[in-house]
């Protein structure tokens, strides 16, 4: 059964349509991811879901409550972690948590069980001011504060931006645990590896949802072939391939370039061209696209269409 139903939702600010006719269904106790570039409308969508903005048209039902008509009730059921650090810097760790509990008419003791796995890790620093915590600890405190009133829905806007790789792993482990306790989680992120940890993800760009799928299946949407090409002089190689007539697109990917050849161009052709240009230690292999490739492809395609339409 769908726990969150978004139906033909639109929101504009002046001339800018931030959210365009978005429809989504999120299941109960699902871990649902929203990925998209800066300015895609992710935060606006999240603010509409958390009753902080009013839609122009369309509706959102959270459980059987409406975000416009029943916002007061809903606010007690939503745990929200905004993108920017949302806590009070001059209050201590413990004071922040107490504050959020009290605002919702609860107490730390009442829902300690729900936050204890997370809060325990920062409890040794409970007298420290929130402003003096490291990035990873701030995220843990913010998550504890979003959970302390035992929400049905947990909505997180880019929760791990600026957090190191190890703390990110821990953070997502926590989300898995919360999901196991029946909380419906909606999380936006610019990290593609995080998308892989969601049950389903939606790709958003320019206010519209471009695809909704299981993250493992999204790579199948990649059109055409993909090769990983590497050489000693990566920068020159990229410059060369970018301008090459054989190549559709090139992007940097860790230690290699991901290259999509133009229709009808064979890998041998590309290789011999690169060799001919004098690139040393050339490696070239056919690879399976990952979610990030699809994302880049979809986005650049849309961008090209826009440019052409101008």
């Amino acid at each position: 059964m769908s726990e969150i139903r978004i139906h033909n939702l639109s929101k504009s600010f002046g001339k800018i349509s931030a959210v365009r006719d978005v429809s989504l269904e999120i299941h109960s106790a699902e871990l649902f991811g929203l990925i998209g570039p800066d300015g895609a409308g992710k935060s606006t969508l999240i603010r509409l879901m958390t009753t902080l903005l009013l839609p122009d048209t369309g509706e959102i039902k959270m459980g059987n409550l409406d975000v416009v008509d029943d916002y007061k009730q809903l606010r007690h059921m939503i745990g929200y972690m905004p993108g920017k650090f949302s806590l009070y810097h001059d209050l201590s760790v413990e004071e922040n948590l107490t504050f959020f509990a009290t605002v919702f008419g609860s107490s730390i003791e009442e829902n300690y069980d729900l936050v204890k796995d997370i809060y325990r890790q920062i409890e040794p620093f409970k007298k420290r001011r929130a402003g003096n915590l490291s990035g990873g600890m701030k995220q843990k405190l913010a998550l504890s504060c979003a959970l302390i009133h035992k929400p049905t829905f947990l909505i997180l806007d880019e929760p791990t931006t600026g957090v190191d790789a190890v703390s990110r792993v821990e953070f997502w482990d926590m989300l898995d645990n919360l999901k196991a306790q029946g909380i419906t989680i909606f999380v936006s992120t610019p990290y593609m590896d995080e998308a892989m940890r969601c049950e389903r993800v939606a790709l958003m760009q320019d206010g519209s949802i471009m695809a909704v799928d299981n993250p493992g299946d999204i790579p199948q949407r990649f059109p055409g072939k993909l090769y990983a090409i590497g050489a000693d002089e990566m920068y020159q190689l990229k410059m060369y391939l970018q301008d090459s007539e054989l190549v559709e697109s090139v992007s940097l990917f860790g230690q290699s370039l991901h290259v999509v050849p133009k229709n009808g161009v064979s890998v041998q052709q590309m290789k011999s061209e690169c060799r001919h240009k004098g690139f040393k230690n050339l490696t070239c292999k056919s690879i399976k696209p990952v979610i990030e490739d699809v994302f880049i492809e979809l986005m650049s395609k849309q961008k090209k269409e826009q440019d052409a339409g101008r």
């Binding site: 570039p37 490291s134 190191d164 860790g254 650049s300």
Partner: protein, 251 residues
């Protein structure tokens, strides 16, 4: 090139009270190199950057940046480096052109140079029509690209980038790294911190800091080989806390 060390750090120690933020760090950075400086939140990266940029004095150690001594010549250092942080580097209520003019002026460029470099920068980014738009109204990815261009507007020896691409989407991050490569190609040494391990792969060499100590320093290829991991993510997680890598079912 090997001989041309633009940053030399020998036994750098920085203490805050009883807390040792940087514990006997030693490393050199070569001209034109992209040097990645990695570590978990709180590992001591920003402390080192503050010392290398002349903003903070070390407790002990011999350190020179762009040929200048960090104890006695911090003003000379500041003139010869660029710096960009994730949090702040441009004035939100100034326009793009005003920001460039401000920084160009601070670094002592002539009016003519400022004008030339402003035009070059706007055309490089393809934003000639946005010249008079306030920085505050631009999306984060744009701001970061402009901030980087401004950080190297005076053609410094070294540019320090402190988590420059945090929270930026994958396409913009790639465009950003194109700019970094371009700068390095022009001979600007790039000293960069990041939490994105795919970006660590783009560096010529990376240093990994754990609790103030340097636990690894080498090319990404060599580190992956030594630690028997197929990504820098794996190397980092192994070194930083001895835990498994990010995606559960990696392969």
């Amino acid at each position: 090139m090997q001989a041309d060390k633009v940053i030399q750090v020998h036994n750098l120690v920085k203490k805050f009270g009883n807390f040792t933020a940087n514990d006997a760090l030693s490393f050199d950075v070569y001209r034109g190199e992209i040097f990645g400086f990695l570590g978990a939140n709180g590992a001591g990266k920003t402390t080192t950057i503050k010392i290398l940029t002349g903003l903070s004095k070390p407790t002990s150690g011999d350190i020179s940046v762009a040929g200048f001594d960090v104890y006695k010549q911090s003003d000379d250092i500041k003139r010869n480096i660029g710096y960009m942080s994730q949090k702040f580097s441009l004035y939100e209520d100034l326009s793009i052109v005003e920001n460039i003019r401000l920084y160009g002026g601070i670094y002592g460029l002539s009016r003519k140079e400022i004008k030339n470099r402003t035009n070059a920068l706007l055309s490089r980014l393809g934003i000639e029509d946005k010249a008079n738009v306030l920085i505050g109204s631009l999306p984060l990815g744009w701001k970061q690209k402009i901030a980087f261009s401004v950080a190297i507007v005076h053609n410094p020896d070294i540019v320090f980038l402190d988590e420059p691409s945090s929270g930026v989407d994958p396409i913009t991050r790639r465009q950003f790294w194109d700019m970094i490569y371009e700068a390095a190609h022009q001979g600007i040494t790039v000293f960069v911190t990041t939490h994105y391990m795919d970006e660590a792969e783009y560096c010529d060499r990376v240093a990994i800091l754990v609790s103030g100590k340097m636990v690894a320093l080498d090319s990404p290829g060599k580190l992956k080989h030594d630690y028997d991991e197929d990504s820098m993510e794996g190397v980092f997680v192994k070194l930083a806390r001895g835990k498994r890598s990010f995606v559960k079912n990696n392969k």
